[in-house]
């Protein structure tokens, strides 16, 4: 009797598992996947989508272990991660779901409007410590970063810091929302957030990647026409073998409706 029940439980799990999809990975993409999942389930009531965060690295290793069906990454799959799939006889497929621009934000009262990449590098590596060194008030700079293994942390490190390490003892926040919250309360603060997170409580800095010749405002338009430099694609990865299982969802994300959601959230659509 007990055995039958146990088998029944296991069988139902497997049967239900067939139409349940698990998405795991980048915290940056959580709001996007959450909204997409919400709408997707409205259209396809028989489908279940679970969304969990954890960071891009976790998403991809969960995909490798088979504990997720889709990995959401705010960076490209790393070379060695790809190798791991290959050595396990698996292959992954990649879909770009949206683009995200990283905005550099400060407290609204901050006078500084423009910063070059080099200045940003010096600020986040701890060389520049006071706003007056970059044309602002005499006020200590308080840089905020994300937690160490988020894709955002790595992307910023690669793109802006040119792979150098952040200063030791940088404030690190468990989630982007917390960064916004803290920066809006802290006069000398500077941090980076996805474009989607911008609101009136923080001020977005215009950034130059050409030693100060042109400063570009972070906006969807500027990211689309590629004048804003700090832009990255957001990816879904899945195992080629399980394509059938996730295809419906992926198609939905790439559909007009799905991409409309992308824009609503504040990311940049792929079209």
């Amino acid at each position: 009797m007990k055995k039958t029940i146990l088998t029944a439980i296991i069988l139902t799990t497997i049967a239900l598992g067939a139409q349940a999809q698990r998405i795991k990975g980048s915290d940056t993409m959580l709001p996007l996947s959450q909204k997409e999942a919400e709408e997707f389930m409205n259209v396809n009531p028989s489908q279940t989508v679970t969304v969990t965060g954890g960071g891009s690295g976790v998403g991809i290793s969960a995909l490798l272990e088979g504990t997720t069906d889709l990995a959401q990454l705010s960076r490209k799959i790393k070379f060695d991660e790809k190798q791991k799939f290959q050595s396990n006889g698996k292959s992954v497929k990649e879909v770009i779901a949206a683009y995200d621009a990283l905005a550099i934000v400060t407290h609204p009262s901050n006078k500084v409007k423009n910063l070059t990449r080099e200045q940003l590098e010096d600020i986040f590596t701890g060389k520049i410590k006071n706003w007056k060194e970059v044309g602002g008030d005499d006020l200590a700079i308080v840089p905020y970063a994300r937690e160490t293994s988020s894709g955002t942390y790595e992307f910023f490190k690669e793109s802006v810091l040119k792979n150098k390490n952040y200063m030791t003892g940088i404030m690190s926040m468990p989630a982007t929302g917390a960064i916004i919250q803290s920066i809006s309360q802290t006069k000398g603060a500077i941090g980076y957030v996805g474009l989607a997170y911008l609101n009136q409580n923080v001020k977005a800095i215009h950034v130059s990647y050409d030693q100060g010749k042109t400063f570009v405002e972070p906006s969807v338009a500027n990211a689309k026409n590629e004048t804003y430099p700090i832009v990255r694609p957001l990816y879904y990865y899945y195992e080629s073998a399980s394509e059938n299982k996730v295809k419906l969802f992926i198609d939905f994300v790439l559909s007009t409706k799905g991409q409309q959601i992308v824009s609503e959230i504040g990311f940049i659509s792929v079209r």
Binding site: G55, G57, D80, G169, M171, S172, P174, S182, G188
Partner: protein
């Protein structure tokens, strides 16, 4: 029939015995899993697994410490002569850069020509230090040599001052700031909570009328019952801005904010245990003191508090234990900056907050994952010491009992 009953008795007894061992088993398992994973960290090479650091064979540097590697790839150490080599500006080379030097076609099918090309790059530059995957190491190129790689050392872990667990090529697992941060914040929490807690305990056991007790006791129980994440939320929304404004600080997420929250959370523990100890003061001692003409306060101060001192000690120790292990509230209000604390009004990072923030993001089985288990082991040891000393203190009290 009787025999059957006897057998049942025996079976039940056995079952109960087994059950009695569950907590011990749980602790044993916790120790095994924590330490097995945690100590695995020291079997990891200090350079990321699966990768090697290569230099030109003409370079006379043979090995580099984990910290030196980090400094090189941060462009902070810039000349080979700073680390025992011949003078020459260090040229750090990351593997991905190869893709901007050569097209995919040049690297051949399945990257079969990749090792060869890497070899060329390294052979060309005498000052290069290249960080490449082991499988693409150019085997047959004599101009390339691998730097001897060491395992992560105990001293790197406990003595290191930088916590950068995801840095490549050489992650930094300096746990020292985290340990200090945890102790620092708990110490101040207790300094705040102790006078408050003992004061309230005195009030409850000596002064409060039955009616007041009926209000205060449940209030304290409720305070103990509020989930830590609610404390964290309250701290984040109310205390952080408040602390920032009151002390005119650049940031509100400070060790002090954390200590305040922890103090509130440790209060119920301290009050309850201290009050218990005071109530246990024998009536005779109390009355003798009063009869000798001492005031009520003098009796409290000179008789009751000294008598219950070991109970108060136990309360302090358990309060510290509560504070050290607290996770969510601290994670939300302290700013989580891994620095060695030098003041109360700066951000700080504790061990539990580090685990909570990073475990979800650390790939299972990797060095980062193991380092977090080692942090857990440290936390476990600290709380064990605390719990055992509390036990010891209260045992002493019992044997001293008059």
């Amino acid at each position: 029939m009787k025999k059957l009953r006897k057998i049942t008795e025996q079976i039940v007894k056995l079952l109960l015995t087994v059950n009695g061992g569950v907590t011990s088993l749980a602790i044993l398992l916790i120790i095994v899993f924590l330490f097995k994973e945690g100590l695995g960290l020291f079997k990891n090479p200090s350079v990321e697994k699966g990768y090697v650091l290569c230099v030109n064979s003409a370079n006379n540097v043979e090995r580099l410490s984990s910290y030196e590697i980090k400094q090189i790839f941060d462009w902070k150490t810039t000349d080979w002569n700073e680390i025992g080599g011949n003078a020459g500006t260090i040229a750090p080379f990351r593997f991905e850069e190869i893709f901007s030097l050569y097209s995919d076609e040049e690297l051949g099918e399945d990257y079969s020509l990749l090792p060869e090309k890497l070899g060329e790059v390294i052979a060309k530059d005498i000052n290069i230090i290249a960080y490449i995957p082991q499988e693409f190491f150019p085997q047959n190129n004599n101009a390339v040599k691998i730097l001897t790689s060491e395992n992560i050392r105990f001293s790197d872990f406990f003595g290191g001052t930088e916590w950068l667990p995801t840095t490549t090529p050489s992650p930094q697992f300096g746990v020292f700031p985290l340990i200090l941060g945890t102790l620092w914040i708990s110490l101040f929490a207790i300094l705040i909570a102790l006078p408050l807690g003992v004061g309230v305990a005195v009030y409850l056991s000596e002064l409060a009328s039955e009616r007041v007790r009926k209000i205060l006791k449940p209030a304290i129980e409720l305070l103990a019952g509020i989930p830590s994440v609610v404390y964290g939320f309250f701290g984040l929304v109310v205390l952080v801005p408040l602390v920032q404004r009151t002390f005119n600080l650049p940031v509100g997420e400070t060790a002090f904010t954390g200590s305040l929250i922890l103090a509130i959370m440790a209060l119920p523990t301290i009050i309850t245990i201290a009050e218990d100890a005071m109530r246990n003061t024998p009536r005779a001692m109390r009355e003798a003191s009063l009869a000798l003409g001492a005031t009520h306060w003098q009796t409290i101060y000179k008789v009751i508090i000294p008598y219950s001192s070991s109970g108060i000690m136990a309360a302090i120790v358990l309060g510290i234990g509560r504070a050290i292990g607290e996770t969510m509230a601290v994670l939300m209000v302290t700013g989580n900056a891994a620095v060695i604390p030098s003041s109360l009004f700066q951000p700080i990072r504790t061990i539990p907050a580090t685990i909570a923030a990073e475990l979800g993001e650390a790939p299972v089985g990797g060095a980062h994952y193991q380092s977090l288990f080692l942090l857990g082991s440290i936390l476990f040891i600290i709380t064990m010491i605390i719990s055992i000393s509390a036990e010891f203190i209260s045992r002493r009290r019992q044997s001293k009992g008059i």
